[in-house]
């Protein structure tokens, strides 16, 4: 029997992925030259929320921990910007560092609270933590502006302030760097152990990993980059408000991840892009976007729980099954034949 040799197509795949990413990046860089300013605003928003969804997915899709409180990190980033930029003239770089530190610290708190919780309990524990943070944002009026939030956040300190295109490029650069760092992190021993959390905590412990630590690491890294996403959003909108920390945003980021495909590194980003683009389109037709969003949630839950990329991967696998046969099951005459994992695929599946 001729065994399929995954090694062969890995190299060509890696090349193809690099080309696709390169072209995509060029297109993204060129957007400000072709898009009217409102569309550019939406594109920047997609970058921020796409980053948020990708960071969320470290805990959710990779770590297997369904957090329903991630808005806390996003909102924290927004408030760090709001408070730092309106009350001080700290340089942009310092504000970014502060955001990273704050996000990491809150992530550690989340991780420590969730050392053991699973399933429903983890959902509700993260929800309770986020509500506690929301309460602070809402009630500590002195610091946060309460219900009104903080407005008047300017981009004066930002590199090349003023121009919307410049801010778009800055956001793009920060998002690309953040995604690259997260991508590398998820392939490192720590990142792989976080993936191991999802697969089997008992095996991970029996292997010599301290499970609780890796839960904390997952929340810390996820929290740091989620906060950066909140920072971008605050600069973009010029304000920070309790809605940046609210339950509905925590639910929305979960929908981003699931709709795009939580099993894939780029799935959540895609989900954010799809929903925000849809919002843009629907808003031109009706003012009932919330209702439409509700429908999107319902349809996602019913029909898209593997996400868009999951669907694509499934279709591709089925097409490829005609050419490759599982060495293990073919002998048993099983028809449900699998193909090797694509270790360097662009739409990387979670097990790689």
């Amino acid at each position: 029997m001729n065994l399929p040799s995954p090694g062969d197509h890995v190299k060509s795949r890696r090349l193809r992925s690099a080309v696709v990413l390169g072209v995509l990046l060029l297109v993204l860089l060129a957007l400000p030259f072709v898009l009217p300013s409102f569309y550019l605003f939406v594109a920047t928003r997609i970058l921020a929320l796409g980053l948020f969804a990708t960071a969320f997915n470290i805990v959710f899709g990779f770590g297997g921990m369904p957090s329903l409180g991630h808005a806390a990190f996003f909102g924290l980033g927004a408030y760090v910007v709001g408070i730092a930029s309106t009350r001080s003239d700290l340089p942009f770089v310092v504000i970014v560092v502060l955001t990273l530190v704050a996000g990491t610290a809150l992530g550690v708190v989340f991780g420590l609270f969730n050392l053991r919780a699973k399933g429903i309990y983890l959902l509700l524990l993260t929800l309770a933590l986020a509500q506690a943070a929301y309460g602070l944002a809402f009630q500590q009026v002195e610091l946060t502006g309460g219900d009104n939030g903080i407005s008047g956040i300017t981009r004066e300190g930002v590199p090349i302030p003023g121009s919307a295109s410049a801010f778009y490029w800055l956001a793009l650069a920060m998002v690309v760097v953040s995604l690259s760092l997260m991508w590398a992190f998820m392939r490192s021993p720590v990142g792989m152990a976080i993936t191991g959390l999802r697969e089997s905590e008992s095996r991970l412990a029996a292997t010599g990993y301290r499970v609780g630590s890796y839960r904390v690491y997952a929340f810390a890294v996820s929290g740091a980059f989620s906060a950066v996403a909140g920072l971008l959003d605050a600069y973009l909108l010029g304000s920070a408000s309790p809605s940046n920390m609210a339950f509905l945003l925590s639910a929305e980021v979960m929908v981003f991840a699931i709709l795009g495909g939580a099993a894939f590194f780029f799935g959540p980003f895609l989900g954010a892009a799809v929903i925000l683009s849809l919002e843009l389109y629907v808003s031109t037709l009706t003012s009932r976007w919330t209702f439409v969003l509700g429908i999107v949630y319902v349809l996602t839950a019913l029909f898209m729980s593997d996400g868009i990329l999951g669907r694509i991967a499934y279709l591709r696998r089925r097409a490829r099954r005609k050419t490759a046969e599982s060495p293990t099951r073919a002998a048993a005459g099983e028809t449900d034949v699998a193909v090797p994992a694509d270790t360097d695929d662009l739409v990387e599946e979670r097990h790689t």
Binding site: G7, A205, G208, Y209, P340, E349, H351
Partner: protein
């Protein structure tokens, strides 16, 4: 004292009002191959979880390689040289064979906190992974997700992962469970060929496998130790026979 690989003394393990282990004492010298047998519900897997650190006993103490470990969790015992397999395949299913081995190898102190380098590119890890893949004849399957492997191959993977860290104490929970007879024989031979300096404690239902591998056999019944002896004498122990015959008539 110090030549005991594992010494658990006076172990009680309680779940609510149910006593799964009752005053169990088991001492296994370094290098011995000990097989635990006993009917279903005798408390074998519970005892295993106590030995591996996945459960804390309600009473009693556990020593490993001369050190008190009663309160040490599983991951610390693993770092001290203990490895285990699971009764029901418990692998990183969505990950590839290679990644399963890599994660296992990376659990050592110098690599498990590395977050800035690719796991596969760490010095030693790739080479050792390849060596293990070759040694255990998994090279052709290296890039397959473990969930796609046949059941028997997954059972072997359990052992590969346990062995990959060169453990000093190996706990095997029914390694041949659910295997076709031919595969069970293959696996038994594999186990028999493991280095003699590794202490092995094994739960086994198949008496032939048990008696072929064991230096000594411990029989558990209703949470307590019923007998402990060399295989030849356990096989003719009247009490043991009664328990097993009784068990069969129940079934």
């Amino acid at each position: 004292m110090t030549d005991m690989a594992i010494a658990a003394r006076g172990i009680d393990t309680r779940f609510g009002s149910f006593l799964a282990n009752s005053d169990v004492t088991i001492e296994v010298p370094v290098g011995e191959r000990r097989v635990l047998i006993g009917p279903n519900g005798a408390g074998k897997t519970t005892l295993f979880n106590v030995l591996a650190g996945q459960l804390r006993p309600s009473k009693g103490s556990v020593e490993m390689l001369g050190r008190e470990v009663t309160r040490k969790p599983a991951y610390q015992r693993a770092r001290m040289g203990l490895a285990r397999t699971f009764q029901i395949n418990n692998l990183f299913d969505e990950l590839t064979v290679r990644q399963n081995i890599e994660i296992t190898l990376a659990s050592e102190a110098r690599s498990r906190r590395v977050f800035w380098r690719d796991l596969g590119s760490l010095p030693g890890i790739r080479a050792r992974t390849n060596a293990l893949l070759t040694e255990w004849e998994f090279s052709d399957l290296a890039d397959w997700p473990v969930r796609e492997l046949a059941y028997g191959q997954q059972r072997v993977m359990e052992i590969v992962l346990a062995m990959s860290k060169q453990p000093r104490v190996l706990l095997l929970d029914e390694p041949t469970a659910g295997l076709a007879p031919a595969d069970a024989i293959r696996l038994t031979n594999l186990l028999a060929a493991l280095p003699r300096d590794i202490t092995i404690i094994m739960i086994e239902h198949d008496m032939e496998v048990a008696f072929a591998l064991a230096d000594r056999v411990t029989v558990l019944h209703q949470g307590s130790v019923l007998a402990e002896d060399v295989p030849g004498r356990v096989a003719v122990n009247q009490e043991v026979l009664q328990v097993y015959l009784g068990d069969m008539s129940d079934a």
